[in-house]
């Protein structure tokens, strides 16, 4: 009985411990940042599509979080993180770092502009949503590689 409890505790401990290690890896950090972006863009897109009512506070919170991601996103692609953890980062990030950095800078600029605009109504949100989200495809065209 005691052995079993210990064994279960060890399992739970291992389960809790393993992701803690992976979570520090740049590949995982940047994947989590992009997931956060996806959730925020989803919040905004549903308002733009008319699937959820416009909510100025929620929109500003999402835009602010996107701008925070944009601020540090480019720092999570150090040498040595080109592969592993199912990364979809394209080799072009490391062969054309200046081009990649420029894309991230444009993204940051558009995100900051959207936050500064603090959309007060749906038309205001639509006006910043297009210019902001065209950055997604513009960067993924060259710097993201689908592997499955």
């Amino acid at each position: 009985m005691k052995f079993r409890t210990l064994f279960a505790a060890a399992l739970i401990g291992a389960a809790g411990f393993a992701p803690a290690i992976a979570a520090d890896e740049p590949q995982v950090v940047r994947q989590e940042m992009m997931k956060k972006n996806g959730a925020d863009v989803g919040t905004l897109a549903k308002m733009v599509k008319g699937e959820s009512p416009f909510d100025a506070a929620a929109a500003l919170a999402a835009l602010t979080e996107i701008s925070e991601v944009a601020a540090t996103f480019g720092e999570h692609f150090p040498e040595g993180s080109e592969t592993g953890f199912e990364t979809e980062a394209a080799p072009a990030i490391w062969t054309d770092r200046a081009g990649f950095d420029a894309k991230v800078a444009e993204f940051k600029e558009d995100a900051d502009a959207a936050v500064a605009a603090a959309p007060a109504d749906l038309d205001g949100l639509k006006a910043v949503f297009g210019p902001l989200t065209q950055n997604c495809g513009s960067c993924h065209e060259t710097y993201r590689l689908k592997k499955s």
Binding site: G38, G42, T133, C136, G137, H140, E141, R144, S148
Partner: protein, 307 residues
């Protein structure tokens, strides 16, 4: 011994003669060309085909955006296992472009991959898909192209090494792989699915990247739209059938929204070569995007074509 040599020699000459005849470019039947020539081309209707066909992705100048995309000066480089193809000028300029062409010459290019001087085009120009287009759509697209601005930029030669630079050999490729038949038999008579099938298998030429190819550049049998290795380098082109995990969990509405906005159901975005394609798809009517989605949902399940 001498006789044997002579016999072999004759056989070789006969074989070469057969091959020569078999690989000769075969243009569209004269009756069909005549019928197309008599049609009134509707430029406005042709614009839909223009975006569905993705002409700008290869024929606009590299990095062209917005209105510049309508200047079809060519110059986009398309890397492949066979060499690098460079999109030619198809603006209405009389010398540098196709301004001097008749609609019959255009139909021969689009439907049979045959140039005005009677040679074969490389299938990097996706006539293997365009061959499914209707006579009226060919006439309409030709009319629309004629309304675009002229560009005097000269087309660049493809950078294709031996033996693929022997254009006559493309006759062999056509013998083996060219078809204007439907790619899949779906049964039923759903008009929306039929419209989707026409757009995807014809002008949209989706299968050119989303279907795996063999070493000779022909489609692998029974793997239509099952996804493939990226022909331009690393990575894969997603499986569009309900058999892979790429988009099998997406609803028809999700697919249509992706083609319109570039967003996946979890608000990841379009990437790679599909970025340009999606911008073209966004120009279609919502009805056409829904038709494409309905067709993809109706496809037979296939495992991933790259595995």
């Amino acid at each position: 011994m001498k006789r044997l040599a002579l016999g072999l020699g004759l056989a070789a000459v006969a074989g070469a003669a057969v091959a020569f005849v078999a690989t000769a470019p075969s243009p569209v039947a004269p009756e069909r060309l005549e019928a197309i020539s008599e049609l009134e081309g509707d430029a406005q209707a042709g614009e839909t085909l223009f975006w569905a066909g993705g002409c700008v992705s290869c024929h606009a100048a590299p990095e062209a955006a917005g209105e510049e995309q309508l200047v079809l000066s060519g110059g986009v480089r398309l890397a492949s296992d066979f060499g690098t193809f460079i999109g030619p000028n198809i603006s209405p300029h009389p010398e540098a472009g196709i301004g001097g062409w008749s609609v019959a010459q255009f139909a021969n290019a689009m439907l049979a991959g045959v140039s005005p001087d009677g040679g074969h085009y490389y299938p990097a120009f996706p006539y293997g898909s365009y061959a499914r287009m209707s006579d009226q759509d060919i006439a309409d697209l030709f009319a629309f192209l004629g309304t675009l601005p002229e560009s005097a930029t000269a087309s660049l030669p493809h950078e294709i090494p031996f033996p693929f630079n022997i254009r006559r050999s493309l006759g062999g490729w056509k013998l083996l792989f060219f078809s204007d038949e439907p790619r899949v038999a779906l049964g039923g008579d759903d008009a929306q699915i039929a419209r989707g099938q026409y757009l995807v298998e014809g002008p949209g030429h989706c299968g050119e990247c989303h279907t795996p190819r063999n070493a000779l550049g022909g489609f692998v049998g029974d793997a239509w739209l099952a996804g493939a290795q990226n022909p331009e380098g690393e990575g894969v082109i997603p499986n569009l059938t309900p058999g892979g995990k790429s988009i099998s969990g997406w609803s028809a509405t999700d697919i249509a929204y992706y083609l319109e906005s570039g967003f996946t159901p979890d608000f990841d975005s379009v990437g790679g070569s599909m970025v340009k394609v999606q911008k073209n798809m966004a120009r279609l009517t919502s009805g056409d995007r829904e038709a494409i989605a309905a067709y993809l949902k109706a496809l037979p399940e296939r495992p991933n074509g790259w595995e």
